[in-house]
Symmetry: C2
DNA sequence: CTTGAAATACTACTACG
DNA sequence: CGTAGTAGTATTTCAAG
């Protein structure tokens, strides 16, 4: 086995500042205004957006395209109202696995992504290995999902469910 | 005080079916295809969308507008990449309040929405009163937020933090 | 009630200053 | 970055299934 694999990495604190301290610092006031608007409503036309940020339409379009190409804008999507779509129930579940092996984690993650209505799945520190959020129709359908799918996820030792009684805040908007 | 306030509501199981069983049932194959597409990428032009769902442009546009007016499409927004925006860290926190009074809940909820980077906040069943998810720059900035804001949220008895080590899945796409 | 074809108005996009 | 011009799209009208 190669000994370099276990060589302690240099801590290189002095070069840390070379990594962009804050990618947002490269954005001026106008870019931020564009992002704020598009995060709120991206169905606005480019000319209307340009007027809002006090720019000509081509200049505004160039900025938007730059923001997309840079990856800062990951995409433009339609948001569906869960209640209107018949999935008014939201459940947060904490998962503990049997064993903490790479294979066990990988297997669980593969299966977790297939769970219908799974919106989020994260590895976390603390008393759980994973947190997942699942959208479903009602408590009946969740109970079915729980009994038929969640409990059969590979390597699961324990599942604790936190049913959401009231959604105070649920946003995709990022503070700029 | 009005006695009717405490009258037991009729359980009316027989009329439950009168409430739209599944709002999605009213949607045909084409509407679903439109929603699937727009949830993935809403920056597509209407003509391109119309071609995808094999419809004329005007007919397609009418359906999209109908879906918006019905509230099923809650909005069209740009998604920002958290890492690129300098908030690569995600923390899920469970909150327990001191007292379970309406005033206590209301006060907390008002304050919680003001927390910078708070993406979600939900009332839950179980050992916590609330779950919140918070986006922040790094562990330093979260530590600052924790010490300066979270611990001072009104009525908080306990806060337990689950730092997200790996985001397996994070989607806005709803299963249709 | 919904669709599709044609006509118009507006917008995105390009080239250039 | 802005102005002007072109290409393409959104949107309305209307006739037909």
């Amino acid at each position: 086995m190669n000994a370099t694999k276990f060589r302690r990495p240099s801590t290189a604190v002095t070069t840390a500042a070379a990594v962009p301290a804050d990618p947002l610092q490269a954005l001026d006031r106008i870019d931020r205004a564009i992002l704020r608007q598009l995060q709120t409503d991206a169905s606005i036309s480019n000319v209307a957006l340009a007027a809002k940020v006090k720019l000509s339409a081509p200049a505004c379009l160039r900025r938007v395209e730059r923001l997309k190409e840079s990856g800062l804008i990951r995409g433009v999507v339609a948001l569906i109202d869960p209640k209107a779509a018949g999935a008014g129930m939201l459940v947060i579940i904490g998962v503990v696995l049997d064993r903490s092996t790479p294979e066990s984690f990988a297997e669980f993650e593969k299966a977790a992504q297939m769970v219908a209505g799974c919106m989020e799945c994260h590895v976390v520190t603390g008393e759980f290995d994973y947190f997942m959020t699942i959208r479903t129709r009602d408590s009946d359908s969740f109970n079915r999902l729980h009994a038929e799918q969640l409990l059969y996820l590979p390597g699961v030792r324990q599942i604790r469910s936190f049913m959401v009684l009231k959604e105070i805040l649920s946003t995709t908007k990022f503070p700029l």
